[in-house]
């Protein structure tokens, strides 16, 4: 009695967390939440007829990340600058080189954090995504960005509405 394989469409907005990577896929009659760890995938289904509401709630996680990264970048560049400046004052050649290498390492680390800050800022505000069914409200680990959640809603909402306008199975 094996059933034909289902056709799934990838939805925008992957998410990653401590429990692995998460992505939503759309089938003809249900939404599939796939939580992948290294080699395993766990599935959770939401039948489109049962979905009562979808909510993307804006969070301040991305903003706090920007503040934390900004502070670390400022500290990194300040220490790198201080080390470089301190190196110019040292008469000993080995000591000067050691301080400059240290300054270079700190500057490099701060530069990497600056790239992370720019990427985080470009991705936009963060969000939590919820799907409410008769069983209750479930937090989905993806999407984590509000812009992607809006793109997902734009794609998902007409599909759910068209399914729910049909008589129940």
């Amino acid at each position: 009695m094996s059933a034909p394989p289902l056709h799934y469409t990838k939805l925008p907005g992957p998410g990653a967390g401590w429990s692995g990577r998460t992505r939503l896929w759309l089938a003809e009659d249900h939404l599939l939440e796939v939580n992948s760890t290294l080699f395993t995938e766990r599935y959770h289904r939401f039948f489109l007829h049962d979905i009562r509401s979808v909510i993307a709630q804006r969070t301040k996680v991305g903003f706090y990340w920007n503040i934390a990264l900004g502070i670390l970048i400022a500290i990194g560049f300040a220490l790198a600058g201080a080390s470089y400046w301190g190196g110019t004052k040292v008469a000993d050649n080995d000591g000067r080189v050691a301080l400059w290498v240290f300054a270079g390492m700190l500057g490099g680390a701060a530069l990497i954090l600056l790239v992370a800050l720019i990427i985080n800022a470009l991705l936009g505000p963060t969000c939590r995504f919820y799907i409410q069914t008769t069983a209750g409200m479930r937090l989905i680990a993806a999407p984590t960005r509000l812009r992607r959640a809006d793109r997902l809603l734009a794609k998902l909402v007409p599909h759910i509405e068209s399914v729910q306008s049909l008589p129940p199975p």
């Binding site: 009695m1 080699f39 599935y43 289904r45 939590r128 809603l153 306008s165």
Partner: protein, 203 residues
């Protein structure tokens, strides 16, 4: 307040639990929770207004000459199972998405992974082969003594999982298994080359 109104589900702010009016989320526009000021984007669907069906005692007694349930001969048949064709009453009817199944087909579908809608998890053999085939090569020469084992493991995982079901939405991912095999062969070749070099240089 009527019974129907009382059983209308609640819409609450996910952040603070404050009750929201469904109109606040209509039309896909952004709204704000009146208490915690969280910005909310979303939509309420027609299913929100549906009252959950009362499942208790809904099977009807079969009349003279009416089709009866396979499991409850005293009950009138409501639907036929889409897999085996047995008539079942509304108590025995199991709805999986858009399918109507009898309890025995549902349990056999659960046991043998024959219904894709019921599969709870999968081990993706091709991903395991890809990881085992490529990661030791990325880690480099430090992995050399183990390359013979990881290479053999990558080839085994790829071949063992070749015909096994893969990821539910992404399929079997044969390319990943093939890359895993190539990586495994490369690892064994590197291990043999270094082993032969060490042996000949010693003798």
């Amino acid at each position: 307040m009527s019974a129907a109104t009382a059983s209308i589900p609640a819409l609450a702010c996910p952040q603070c639990g404050t009750a929201l009016t469904p109109d606040a989320l209509s039309g896909g526009r952004a709204s704000t929770c009146p208490r915690c000021r969280s910005e909310l984007h979303g939509t309420v669907f027609p299913a929100f207004w549906k009252i959950p069906a009362d499942l208790s005692g809904r099977a009807q007694q079969a009349g003279e000459g009416e089709a009866v349930c396979f499991f409850h001969p005293e009950n009138r048949a409501a639907v036929s199972c889409e897999k085996c064709g047995r008539f079942v009453c509304s108590v025995c009817e199991c709805t999986v998405g858009t399918r109507h199944l009898c309890p025995s087909c549902l349990s056999s579908g659960l046991a043998g992974e024959k219904l894709p809608e019921l599969i709870p998890w999968r081990f993706v053999w091709a991903d395991a082969a890809l990881f085992t085939g490529i990661m030791p090569l990325v880690l480099g020469i430090f992995m050399w003594p183990f390359l013979i084992f990881s290479g053999a493991a990558a080839i085994f995982l790829a071949l063992f999982g070749w015909k096994r079901p893969g990821s539910l939405p992404r399929g079997r991912r044969r390319w990943a298994a093939i890359v895993g095999i190539i990586g495994g062969v490369l690892q064994i070749a590197i291990w043999l080359t270094v082993a032969i070099f060490l042996y000949t240089s010693r003798t």
